[in-house]
C-alpha cells in the first residue's frame, strides 16, 4: 500500500486474478471471463421473453468475435436451432473461409468501415484494409442484411475524401441496408486510465452535431440510408 493508496506494478501482473478476487469493493476487476458454449447459451436464454416481445436477439460483439471462430460458430448454430435472431458486430478482418462458414447463421452483419485509404488505415489500425473490403464485397453478394458502422473521428476519417470514398464504395454494394454514423466519444478515457495505458487520441474532441450532419448529408447524396448511433 503506497501513500496515495494502492499502486500497481503491471510488469509483474500474471493475470492470475487474485487481486480482483480479494478486492471487496470491486474496485479492481477483470473484464470478461471464460465461459463454455452451454454457459453462454444459458445467459442468452434468460432474455428470451424480451427477444420475442421486441423482435430482438443476440449481438455478438467484442473485441472481435471472428477471432474465436469455433466458439462463435457453435453459438450461432445453437441460436438458429432455438430460433433466436443473431447479429454479428465485426471489423471484417478475418480469413474469408471463416466468414463463409458462419454467414448463413447470421441474420444481420454490423460491419465496420473506418478508413478507405489503405495507407491511413495501416497507420491507425496497424493493418491493411484490403481483406476487410474484399470480405465485405463478397458478403454483399450473398443476400445477407448488412449495416455499415462508420465511426466519425474528427481529423482522422471525417475528411471529404474518406467520406465520399466510403459512400461510393457502400453504394456499389448490394444488400447493404444502411450506414450508421457512430460519433467518436471520450467515454474510454477512464478505461485507459484504469488499465494504465496511454490514451492516444487525447487531442481529439467529439464531432459537433453540425459535423455529423454534414457527413450524413454527404453520404445520403449517394442514395444511402444513414442513421446516427448504433440503432
Amino acid at each position: 500500500m503506497a501513500k496515495q493508496g494502492i499502486s500497481i506494478d503491471r510488469k509483474k501482473c500474471s493475470l492470475c486474478g487474485d487481486c480482483s478476487r480479494v478486492c471487496p469493493s470491486d474496485a479492481l476487476s477483470i473484464a470478461g471471463k471464460q465461459l463454455s458454449v452451454k454457459e453462454v447459451l444459458e445467459e442468452i436464454e434468460k432474455d428470451r421473453a424480451f427477444y420475442e416481445e421486441s423482435g430482438g436477439g443476440v449481438t455478438f460483439s467484442g473485441g472481435e468475435p471472428l477471432l474465436q471462430p469455433e466458439f462463435l460458430n457453435a453459438l450461432l448454430k445453437e441460436c438458429k436451432v432455438r430460433a433466436i435472431h443473431t447479429t454479428l458486430d465485426t471489423c471484417g478482418f478475418a480469413q474469408p473461409e471463416i466468414i463463409e462458414r458462419i454467414q448463413s447463421k447470421v441474420d444481420v452483419f454490423l460491419y465496420d468501415l473506418k478508413i478507405m485509404d489503405d495507407k491511413k488505415h495501416r497507420k491507425y489500425t496497424g493493418r491493411s484494409n484490403e481483406l476487410i473490403l474484399r470480405n465485405l464485397e463478397k458478403l454483399a453478394e450473398s443476400a445477407r442484411q448488412i449495416v455499415i458502422s462508420f465511426p466519425v473521428i474528427p481529423s482522422i476519417n471525417d475528411d471529404e475524401e474518406n467520406v465520399m470514398e466510403t459512400a461510393k464504395f457502400v453504394s456499389s454494394l448490394r444488400n447493404v441496408q444502411q450506414i450508421n454514423l457512430l460519433p467518436y466519444h471520450r467515454a474510454g478515457i477512464e478505461k485507459y486510465k484504469s488499465l494504465g495505458k496511454p490514451y492516444k487520441l487525447d487531442g481529439i474532441r467529439p464531432p459537433t452535431s453540425q459535423g455529423i450532419k454534414s457527413v450524413k448529408e454527404r453520404m445520403e447524396g449517394f442514395g444511402i440510408r444513414v442513421g446516427i448511433g448504433g440503432g
Binding site: P24, S25, D26, K46, A49, F50, E53, S54, G231
Partner: protein, 787 residues
Amino acid sequence: MQERIRKLRKQSVIAKPYISPERAILITKFYQSKIAKQVPVPVKRALAFKHLLENKKIRINDGELIVGERGSAPKETPTYPEICCHTLEDLDVLNSRKKIPYAVDERTMRVYRDKIIPFWKGRSIRDLIFDRMSDEWKSAFEAGVFTEFLEQRAPGHTVVDDKIYKKGLLDFKKDIAKSIESLDFVKDTEAGEKREELKGMEIAADAVIHYAERHAELAKGLAKKERNTKRRKELEKIASVCSCVPAHAPRDFWEALQCYWFIHLGVISELNPWDAFNPGRLDQHLYPFYTKDLEDGTLTKEQAKELLQAFWVKFNNQPAPPKVGVTAEESCTYTDFALINTGGVKADGSDGVNELSFLILDVVEEMRLTQPSSMVQISKKTPDRFLKRAVEIIKTGFGQPSVFNTDEIIQELLRQGKRIEDARNGGSSGCVETGAFGKESYILTGYFNLPKILEITLHNGEDPRIGKKIGLETGNPVKFGSFEELFAAFRKQLNHFVDIKVEGNNIIERLYAEHLPVPFLSILIDDCVTKGRDYNDGGARYNTNYIQGVGLGTTTDSLASLKYNVFDKRYITMKKMISLLKTNYDRQEPLRQRLLNKTPKYGNDDDYADSIMKDIFEAYFEAVDGRPNTKGGYYRINLLPTTVHIYFGKTVEATPDGRKTGEPLSEGVSPVQGADRKGPTAVIKSVAKIDHVKTGGTLLNQKFTPQLLADEIGMNKLAQLIRTYFKLDGHHIQFNVVSSGMLRDAQKHPERYRDLIVRVAGYSDYFVDLSVDLQNEIIKRTEHASF
C-alpha cells in the same frame, strides 16, 4: 389549457393545507345531543352525517364547473375525532413539522382544548384500539414489526363501479325500502339490526341529496347576482345539475362527473377512509354519456376535456386527512390515493380502450397534478397506441400514469374466488391494490416488516434494538447447522407475528363494526343493501383483508448472504456475522464491501438469490393467505410500501446484506436500492419469479433518465419492456424519469424545484415535500443508464 382551468389549477396548487375544526365541532355537537343517545349506532352515524352536511359551510369557487368541497375551501382539511382525537401536542406537530404540515390556528387549538378533546378522549376508535390490544401486540407494534392501518383512518380501500351512473340515490332508496320490507323477523335473529342499518342508509342517502340541493340553491343565488352573461349561464347550469344529481341518475357528461363528485364528498365526509374514494374505471363509466352528448351536439371534445380538468382540480383540493405518529411515517404524503383507471377490458372480456381513455390521458398530461393519481390498465388486447401514449406521458417525468397488467389483475381476482365479470370490471386502487370495484371491501390492515422478523430470528426472539424479548425462542442461530434450520426458525417467527397481527385485527374489525358503521358507503358497495349489512361489518359481496409485506429485497439479500457466506462458502461464522450486525460493521468496511459486492443479490436474474426470494414469498403467503377475517372473508397478501420502508428501516439494525443500521429497507418487490446491477431486463426477470397471481398487488419501481426515452426507439423499448414484464405475469410497474444530478440539485435548492414530481410508491409526490431520508433513497434507486 383554458384560462379558467389555469386559474383553478393554480389556486389548488398554491393553497396550503390547513385544519378546519368545523367537522369536529358539528360531529361532537351531534354526539352530545339527546337524540344521539337514544338511537342505535347506524342511525346515529347517519344522523351525525346528516347534521354535518346540513350545517357545514359550502362554497362555489370562481369559475368552477364541478362544485363542492370537503372543507369549505381548497385544501381546508377536516378532522375525524371519532377515529383519532388529536391532542394539543399532535396539533402542534401538524402545524410545525417540516414535511407535510397542516396549519392549525389559535381558534382550532382552543376549540380542541375546550370542546373536542374533553368529549372524545378515551372514546375515539384509536383510544379504544390501544386500550384493547394485548401486550404482545403492543410490543410488536412499538418495535416496528408491523403498523396498524386502522388506528387513525377508517377502512375504505374501495372503489365504486358504474351503479351511480345508472341509478340516483332515490332509486337506491327504493332498493333499501325493498330490503327492509323483505326482512324476516320470524326466522332472522338479526332482522332488527338489519333494519337499523338500512334505516341509516336511507337517512344517509337523503343527507347527500339535500347537500346537493344546498349547492343548487347557492348556484341559483350566485347566478342572480352574476353580471357576466356567460358565467350566469354556467351557474344556472350548475344549479340544474345539482338539483338532478345524485338524487336522480345523471343524464349527461357534466351531470355524470358532478354526480360522482357528490358521492365522493359523501364518502370522505362520513369518515376518513383510506384511499379516499375512487371513481375507478372512469373511461368506461363516462363513455356512454360522452358519445351520446357528442352525437346530440350538446358537448364538444374540448368541453369534455375542460369538465374533466375541472374535475381533476377537485381531487387536488382535498389533501389526505392529517396523520400523526407511525401512520404519518408509513404514509407521509398529502396524496390520498384516488387512482383513476383507464384502459383494461370490458365485462365481456373485449378491449376497453376508447376515445375517452385517450382524452383522460391528455388531461393527466396537461394537469400534472399529484391528485388524482392515474394509471393505465394494459391487457394483451390493449392496442400499442394506447400504451405508447402512456409512455409519452411517463417520459415527461412526473411518475404518472403507472402501468398495470389487466390480465394479471383478473387472474388474481379469480384466484380469490370472484366472478369473472366482477374481475374484469375491477382494477387497482390506492397504490397497487387489486379490487372488484363496487363489490368489494378490501382492507389494508398494516405493513409487515419482514427484515425485522429475520432480525428477531437472529437474536432468538429478542429485539436487539431495545434488548427485549418480543418473539419466540426459535433457537440460538450460532447452533444452526444448516441454512434450512435458519429458514425454519424464520418461518416460525413469521407465523408467530402474523398470529399476533391477525388477533389484533379481529378486535379492531369488530370495533369498527360496532362503533363506526358507514351507512352511506354501504349504499354504494354491493351487496350491503340486499344483505342489510354495513360495509364495515361484512356487507360487501367480497370481504378481503390484506397484510402488506415490506422489505422482500432486503430479507432476500440478507438470507442469501447468510446462506452464501456462512453456510455454503463458510467465509465467516454465524457468530462473527451477528457481531458485525451488532457493531454496525464498525471498522469492518472491507468485510461489508464484500457482502455488498461479492454476494448474490436479488434483482440480477440469479437463481441463487431469487430462489431464496421465492421461499420467503411462499412462507409469507402461507402465513397469511386463507385465514378467515370476522366479516366472512379472507386474508390475502400484497407487497407495497408507500413510505413505510423508511420508517421500518429505522427500526432495523444492520442486516447481513451489508445494509447499515437505520437505512431504508427495499420497497415493494423492487430489489435493494443499488443491488440490481444487470439492468432492467434482469430486474424484470427476477421480479417475475414471484408468483404475482397469489397476491392482491405488487409494486415495482424503476427509474430512467430522460435521455433514455428521448426518441421513438427509446419509448418503444420501454413499451416492449412493459409488455414483456406483463407477459411474465408482473402486476405493476412505474417509472421515475429524472436524473440523479437534478435530484441532488433539488435537495440543495428546493425553491427551484417546487414542481418536481417523483414517483414514491404507489403515488407521485413533490420531491421537496419528502423527508431527506426518502429523498436520498429515491436518488439511490438504481438509475439505469441503458436497457
